[in-house]
C-alpha cells in the first residue's frame, strides 16, 4: 500500500521505519531535539499547500512524527526547508540532503555543529524514507 506523500498516514509509516532501524538507533543515540522539514508548495506539481513534517527525535527513537502547518514547523530546533520537488528527489535518493544543503538547494536553520555531528543519522533517515511506499501527487493520473 502506497501512502500519499507527506500525509498523516505517511508520517506514521515513516516513524515506524525509523524506529525499526538499528542503524538510526545507534547513529542518533545521543540526539535530542525536534527537526522539522518544510515542504514548500508547488501547485504546478499538484502540491498546492506548504506542509511541515514535525519530527520529535530523542536518543535514537522517533517519539512522534506528524504533519503540521508551516508556522508550527518553523518553531522546531532545526528546520530544513525546500520545495516539494527537491524533497521528492531526496526521498528517491536522487539528491543527497547534505549535498543539497551545501548547494543551497535546501536551507538549514539550527545549530550547524550539531547537524554535522549527526550526518550519519540524517543519511539513515533518508534511507528510511525510501522504504516507505509513496504516492506522489504529481504522479497521480488525472
Amino acid at each position: 500500500m502506497a501512502y500519499k506523500a507527506f500525509s498523516d498516514e505517511w508520517a506514521q509509516a515513516y516513524k515506524d521505519e525509523i524506529n525499526n532501524s538499528a542503524v538510526y538507533k545507534q547513529a542518533a543515540a545521543n540526539w535530542e531535539g525536534v527537526v522539522a522539514l518544510i515542504v514548500e508548495a508547488e501547485p504546478e506539481k499538484n502540491f498546492p499547500e506548504t506542509k511541515g513534517v514535525w519530527m520529535d527525535l530523542w536518543h535514537g527513537e522517533a517519539r512522534d512524527i506528524k504533519i503540521v502547518d508551516e508556522g508550527q514547523a518553523d518553531k522546531a530546533d532545526f528546520v530544513i526547508r525546500g520545495p516539494y520537488s527537491r524533497w521528492k528527489q531526496v526521498a528517491q535518493k536522487e539528491l543527497d540532503s547534505t549535498k543539497a544543503m551545501m548547494q543551497g538547494k535546501l536551507k538549514l536553520r539550527g545549530d550547524l555543529p550539531t547537524i554535522v555531528r549527526y550526518t550519519k543519522a540524517s543519511q539513515e533517515m533518508t534511507e528510511c524514507t525510501t522504504r516507505v511506499p509513496v504516492e506522489y501527487p504529481d504522479e497521480v493520473p488525472a
Binding site: K99, M101, M102, Q103, K105, D111, L112, P113, R117
Partner: protein, 137 residues
C-alpha cells in the same frame, strides 16, 4: 563573515563559515587558533558540487570569498562527503587531531586513496589549527 564585494557568498561558503563561527561560540578557547591564523588563507574546492571558496582569517574576522583566491597557505580538495568527514575529526592529546578513531581513520583513508588532497600539508601547525576550528566532534 563577509562576502567578497557585492557577490553573495555561496551556500557552502556560508555553511563552513557558519560552522567555524558556531564552533568558536561553543568553544571560546578556539579563539586562540583563530587569532594565530590571522593573515592566513585556506581554500576549499569541492568538485562534486562544483564549488570552491577561500577563507581568510583577519584578526577577529573571517573573510569568505567564492572561488580559490590568492595563494592560500593550505588548500583542500575533496568531494562534499569527505569535507563533512573532516569536520568529525576529534582533537586528541596536546591538541593534535586524532587520526586513530573511526572518524580520523576515514580521513586518513581518503588521503591515501586520493579522495582528499591537501596542499600545504607541511604547514602542520596551520593545518592542525584549521582542523580544530572545523571540528564539531
Amino acid at each position: 563573515m563577509y562576502p567578497d564585494g557585492d557577490e553573495e557568498a555561496s551556500a557552502i561558503a556560508t555553511m563552513l563559515a557558519g560552522l567555524i563561527t558556531a564552533n568558536i561560540e561553543q568553544h571560546p578557547e578556539r579563539w586562540k587558533d583563530f587569532h594565530k591564523l590571522s593573515g592566513t588563507s585556506v581554500s576549499i574546492e569541492v568538485p562534486d558540487i562544483e564549488e570552491s571558496l577561500t577563507l581568510t582569517f583577519a584578526g577577529d574576522d573571517l573573510v569568505v570569498r567564492n572561488g580559490k583566491q590568492g595563494r592560500p597557505a593550505v588548500s583542500i580538495k575533496a568531494d562534499s562527503d569527505v569535507v563533512m568527514a573532516l569536520n568529525l575529526v576529534k582533537t586528541g592529546p596536546l591538541g593534535m587531531p586524532n587520526y586513530f578513531d573511526e572518524a580520523g581513520r576515514n580521513v586518513v583513508k581518503a588521503l591515501v586513496s586520493g579522495k582528499l588532497k591537501i596542499g600545504g600539508m607541511w604547514r602542520v601547525d596551520t593545518l592542525n589549527r584549521v582542523t580544530r576550528l572545523f571540528s564539531v566532534a
